[in-house]
Amino acid sequence: MTNTAISVSDLSKKYEDRLAVSHINFEVPLGTVCGFVGPNGSGKTTTMRMLLGLITPTTGQGHILGEPIEHPEKYLSRVGAMIEGPAFYPALSGYENLMVLAKLGGFPIERVQQLLDKVGLGDRGKSKFKSYSLGMKQRLGIAAALLPEPKLLMLDEPTNGLDPEGIQEVRALLRDLANEGTTVFVSSHLLSELEIISDYIVMLRKGEIVFAGPIGELMAQQQPTIIAKSLKKSDLKRIVKIAKEAGHHAVIRDDSVHVLADMKWAAVLNEAAFDAGITLAQLAPQLPNLEETFFEMTGDK
């Protein structure tokens, strides 16, 4: 019995001259929420398509729930997925669309209404898909992905088009599913969104892995920033000097001094500023968020 939901090794996909995914390796443990992060065009959807047997890898291997990706029939009955947005028949209702998939997968038809209720479409199930808003379409896509009571749920940008309330509901839903033992592999280019719900992170940039591992491990690698603001603007340069003399990198940004230093050094800075006659209006240690970490690691900003 494997303890990884997804494992890929040397996986690549080449389209003519373009390498969409380049020799990637990562693992996603069972029962976690794994954020699949990267800018648009970084290869997230291509990777997901390979994992679902929709496209054939150029090189490499992959395993889903212990089964090789060359045989999707061995694992897809335990996998729910929504790839590249919700795709349904516009002239059928939401209910009818789910019925088509329920019949196709041989799932109990009672689940259709239950899932419509779960994603908040219970009273709009009989409306045609083409009349749905983008948020409603997303919800229907999530409901379709949940049809098989999946062990692994793969969602590609599931919160696109959702309002803040809808985003919160999806977050809560994904967390609940993970608590029930479902592994959630969710992609997004909105890194702040994934930072909140993910245990694991796989970062992709231009088809290559930048980081793959627990989110705590990633954030621990990042140096915190101490943000100091003096009462007098003219004292900012003196704060920079104090920081540099102590061997820390410091810059002035937005009327504050940003010092790359351990959080404990904030107290030292406070004391040193006081001794130098500088009155600090603000002194706050700050950990970089996932977005800043991503840009720092990829050098994109």
């Binding site: 929709l54 496209i55 028949y89 002239a91 379709a144």
Partner: protein
């Protein structure tokens, strides 16, 4: 496979598609069958391309299904449009990926789709046959056509044989539509190409060189529905038409199974 058929039937029974298709089939059936009886004495003829179907021919045991077999080609074109649209729309809507996630065996998807659409075509054919025979029976006395032989054992035999031939022809047209849908991946392109070829290009080619009738795919499939023509035997039409359909189906199936689903 059975699950694929059930899922596809769910889509095909959509009222606009079902009643729209049946309406079109009934329209052509009513129109063509009525013409044969109402235009029986017209100097322009009452059959295909100005030919005349006489009272004697209509009075034979096979007379009841003369109109129905003439409609076969039109039913085939309707089937081509439905099969092509139902296949190609999976690409344009992006729903193919949903289908393949729930049923990874691409051949099962393809065969299940074909079976469900063939069942849909069978319903259309049955309704068209009943309506055509009923119209023929109602209009025959006014056209002074003798119907005594129509429901004898020979007559029933002719009805059965014609329904089988029309079914073979219509499903074959449908497979051509499916092949076009798989190759072109767009309902509009698949239907336009299919209809343009069958209704215009083939007729122009035959008008220029009559012997081409023996080799063009649409002509073969239409001839199957009619049980063969004077200068195009049923056996020849079945062989050549069958070859076209088989080669097209094999090529499209291989492409469908091997091609990446990237939309």
């Amino acid at each position: 496979m059975f699950n694929v058929v059930k899922a596809e039937i769910r889509k095909l029974r959509r009222p606009t598609l079902f009643f729209g298709t049946m309406g079109a089939a009934l329209f052509f059936t009513g129109l063509i069958t009525s013409f044969i009886y109402l235009m029986i004495d017209s100097p322009q003829g009452n059959g295909d391309r100005g030919s005349t179907i006489s009272r004697q021919v209509l009075g034979l045991a096979s007379g009841s299904v003369n109109g129905f077999s003439s409609v076969g080609g039109f039913l085939g074109i309707i089937a081509l449009c439905v099969f092509a649209a139902q296949t190609a729309q999976e690409y344009t809507y992006g729903t193919l990926r949903n289908l393949l996630i729930r049923q990874p065996s691409r051949m099962k998807i393809l065969v299940g789709k074909l079976i469900s659409m063939a069942l849909f075509a069978l319903v259309m054919i049955t309704i068209a046959a009943v309506v055509s025979i009923a119209i023929s029976y109602i209009l025959a006395p006014g056209a002074k056509v003798n119907t005594d032989l129509w429901f004898t054992s020979d007559g029933l035999d002719a009805i059965f044989t014609t329904i089988v031939n029309v079914t073979i022809s219509v499903v074959a047209f449908g497979i051509v539509g499916m092949v076009l849908g798989l190759l072109l991946r767009s309902p509009i392109s698949a239907i336009s190409f299919g209809v343009l070829w069958l209704l215009i290009v083939e007729n122009l080619l035959i008008a220029v060189k009559n012997s081409l009738q023996n080799w063009l795919p649409g002509a073969q499939l239409s001839a199957i529905a009619s049980g063969g023509l004077v200068d195009l035997t049923y056996k020849h039409a079945l062989t050549v038409g069958g070859l076209y359909v088989a080669v097209g189906a094999i090529v499209a199936s291989i492409l469908f199974v091997r091609r990446d689903v990237a939309n």
